[in-house]
Each structure stands twice: as structure tokens, then as C-alpha cells.
Symmetry: C2
DNA sequence: TGTGGGCTATTGGTAGCACCTTTGGCAAGT
DNA sequence: ACTTGCCAAAGGTGCTACCAATAGCCCACA
């Protein structure tokens, strides 16, 4: 995202520290303290501070400094905040809430894709599903993951709603987090492969209902595996 | 959000200009041009630039300046970006994509609320639904809107998923946009009032399925009224 | 025609200043 | 003891000036 190293270093460090709860809400920081701790100038500290303020992690008040805000003020949908929280101690709960978000969004996105996807997207989706079966049966987890990510991103972007498309990065993080956390079976279950193909074909056929149902099955299963909270499908 | 006027002025102006398509993707800006146009120093221009970069609206490159990015790079879920787009020419399409997002999220949030809401939230929800009926039948649109916003915010915040809670502002914007754009009937249709009460009671009773179904009915109807795209409920 | 090297525009980062708002404490009066 | 009001310091807000690094662009030369 940011091309520069300096800002990202300081920003990531502070962002992680706040989102992890390492510094509690209400704690005051100052530009001075940031600058001296990281050995950067006031200017850089100020720019980082503005970013953090934009993310709702902190509010700057005169004479007080930057007071850390509570989670209800955070832009929890911002990719950076999501990343920090996934790297922090609340990883599991974050994975749960993100999965719930997927559960909400992806079926509708699939339905949208069935209506709005271009011809190229439809064929690529079908091809991706087919290759996923091959890789899944071969047991190549890393390659499978990459393709899985690609599949879901393609679908979200093809949904005709850029709000859904913006969640592609989130879904990628969830998928990757899941496999690298060992929450995935050694080789994908056949049902998942079937359902991915079902989604792809429903989209290719322009059948929004079928696409939505198949996607709901995919994400519903995942949710159950993660220890679903409510609503059994 | 920002306590200062200067940044917000410049930021809003540039943000609106970009999100409205007034300056096309690929257009280069420079700190110099920003500073001189708005009569601010380089420092302020830089902070604004960082913010815009964080929102994915521009990318800063040396020797070139800030190149405006295409919509696929934008953080379209960020409250500021949403606000700008709602104020710009693409308002109707933005309202459509946001409504679709509501359609995806709110039913699941209702189900979550049925499981996770506190006692206080449940009773307030029921009370809000009852007052909405009174105000709706009285025809007081402004008051009704305020309560409608409160109802949905309460529900999203009670869902037990802060991702959903973060969308409260979005829903508020959509609701308010709808009534102020004259997309609402002079007095709320009785079905909507019934369904709001149904949601409230399902949440109060701890019945996630019923809450989800009732909320789906609310938001599904809205979608149809706005000129639904696919999936007829 | 192609390629390498230098020029320069523009961001990246630093330092230090003046200003203004806020706030916490102190003092005086009730 | 409690309130009121004033004052001083703290710390963000905004500005200017300056140097470093990098990357696009053009020109000279092969």
C-alpha cells in the first residue's frame, strides 16, 4: 500500500499495539513520544497520527495528545485494521467475525455475479473450479489456497457491486489464515470441491438462485467447521 | 471526525473531486498544486495526501506526484468514501450498492442480535419498533427516520459482530438518503411497521431464524422498491 | 535505431518556529 | 469547605526552509 518504509513501520507498530489492546482505550500518546520512541521527526509522527485518526483508532485533542479510542470507534472494515487484528491475539475471534461477514456477503455476491459477470469472468471461474478439483485431489495445499483465493476474488469482483469487490482482500486473508492456522483438512473435502464447481456453473449459466444457494452451502459449512454460533444450516 | 477545519476542507474537497470522477484516474496531482490551490502549506498538503493514499484514492510516486487511482483501488467501504460518493453524481448507483450490502448483512445481524443482544438492547428494540408505528401512523417523517436509524443501529451493534456494527453509519446514510430523496412513501407502509415489530419481538424472544426472516423481508422490500436487479423474494 | 548517462522535478524526511486551545492548578473570595 | 476565576504550561496546528533520494525524461553518442 504505502510505498515508503518509514511510515508503514511506525504505523504498523502503533496500529498493532492499539488493536491488540496492548495500549488500552483512553491512554494518551503524544507526537513527542511517538517521535522519540521510533526515532522519527515530528512530521512523520504527525502523518502517522492522522492516519490512525482516520482509522478511528485515536482522536487528537489539543493539550492532551492522542487518546486511544475503543473498538466501537474503529474502522473495523478497513483492510489495515483487519490485518492488524488478524496478526494479534484476537485472531480467532477476528476470524470468526470475518467468516460471518463472508457468510452474509458471498452468497449475494454469487447471485450478482450470475447476473453481471462478463463472459471472460464466467469461463475463468469454471476453469478455476476445475483446477481446484485437480489440485485438491493431488493434495497441494499451497497451490490450492492460491486458486481458492483467486476464485473468491473473481466472484466478488464480478458481482457488479464494488462493495463486495472491496472485500476480496478480506476473504483472501481469511482463507490464508485458515489454512496456515491448520484449520483446514489435509486435503479439501469433496463436498467443497463440488460446491465450488456448482457455483461456477451456476454463474456461467446465469442462474442467480443456484449460485446463491451453492455459495451459501460453501460458506455455511466453513462456519460450522469453525464452531458456528447460531443458526444451523 | 477531524477536529480541525483545515484538513477536512482540503480532504473533503479533493475526496469529492476524485470520487465524483471529476478528476479522472491517472491524473497527476502535486503537493505544490494542492498547496497553492487551497492556500495551505506543504505540511497540510502532505497529510491530506497521506490520508487520500490510505483511502486508496491516490498513489504517491516520486518525480510524478499523486496519481489518481481507479475505483477498483478505492476503499469503498470507508465511511468517508461512502459519504463523498453519496454526495456526488453517482448517488443513485451508490444507494443501490449500499442497499444490496444491507440486504446481505442485516438479516444475519438480526439473527446475531437474537442470540447476543443484552436485555437492555432487546427491550429498547421493542420499544423503538412500537414508537415507530405510532410515529409512522402520525405521518411524522423526520421523527420516524430518526427512530428508524436508531432501530437499525441498535440491531447492528447488538449483533455480536463489530463488523456489522461498523455498518451502522452506512445504514443511517442510506435511510436518510432515501427519505430525503423522496424515495419513501408519504407515510410508511403498514407492512414495514409490522416487520420491524416482528424483528424486535424475534430478537426479544431469542429466535434467530424468525429475526433473520423478518429482517430479510424488510430489506428485500426496500430493494424491490428501489428497482431490484436480480433475485425476487 | 538503440542505449546509457546525466538532469531535474517531486516526494521523503528533518528541524525549528509562532500560535492557539485546552486544561489543571492555584489563589482569592464567599 | 466550596466555588469562581485567572494563569501558565502543555501539546496539537500550521508554517517555512532545507537537504536527500529517486525516478522519469531527454539528449548525446555509438
Amino acid at each position: 500500500m504505502a510505498t515508503t518504509v518509514l511510515h508503514t513501520t511506525v504505523l504498523d507498530s502503533l496500529g498493532r499495539r492499539i488493536t491488540s489492546g496492548d495500549v488500552a482505550a483512553g491512554t494518551p500518546l503524544t507526537l513527542e513520544s511517538i517521535g522519540s520512541e521510533f526515532g522519527v521527526s515530528r512530521t512523520v509522527a504527525r502523518e502517522v497520527m492522522r492516519l490512525l485518526e482516520g482509522l478511528g483508532l485515536v482522536r487528537s485533542r489539543r493539550r492532551v495528545g492522542l487518546v486511544v479510542l475503543g473498538i466501537e470507534e474503529w474502522n473495523v472494515l478497513d483492510p489495515r485494521v483487519i490485518r492488524w487484528r488478524l496478526e494479534g491475539p484476537g485472531r480467532d475471534s477476528q476470524l470468526r467475525t470475518l467468516t460471518e461477514l463472508r457468510h452474509a456477503v458471498e452468497p449475494l455476491a454469487a447471485a450478482g455475479a450470475a447476473v453481471h459477470a462478463t463472459d471472460g469472468e464466467r469461463t475463468e471461474l469454471v476453469a478455476a473450479a476445475r483446477r481446484m478439483r485437480m489440485l485438491g485431489e493431488a493434495g497441494d495445499l499451497e497451490e490450492f489456497l492460491a486458486l481458492d483465493v483467486r476464485f473468491h476474488e473473481l466472484l466478488l469482483r464480478a458481482s457488479g457491486n464494488e462493495m463486495f469487490g472491496a472485500l476480496a482482500g478480506v476473504v483472501a486473508a481469511v482463507l490464508s489464515g485458515r489454512t496456515h492456522l491448520g484449520l483446514m483438512p489435509a486435503s479439501p473435502v469433496p463436498e467443497a470441491l463440488d460446491q465450488h464447481e456448482a457455483v461456477a456453473h451456476a454463474v456461467a449459466d446465469g442462474d442467480p438462485r443456484a449460485a446463491e444457494a451453492a455459495m451459501a452451502a460453501i460458506v455455511g459449512e466453513v462456519r460450522a467447521a469453525l464452531g458456528g454460533v447460531d443458526r444451523q444450516v
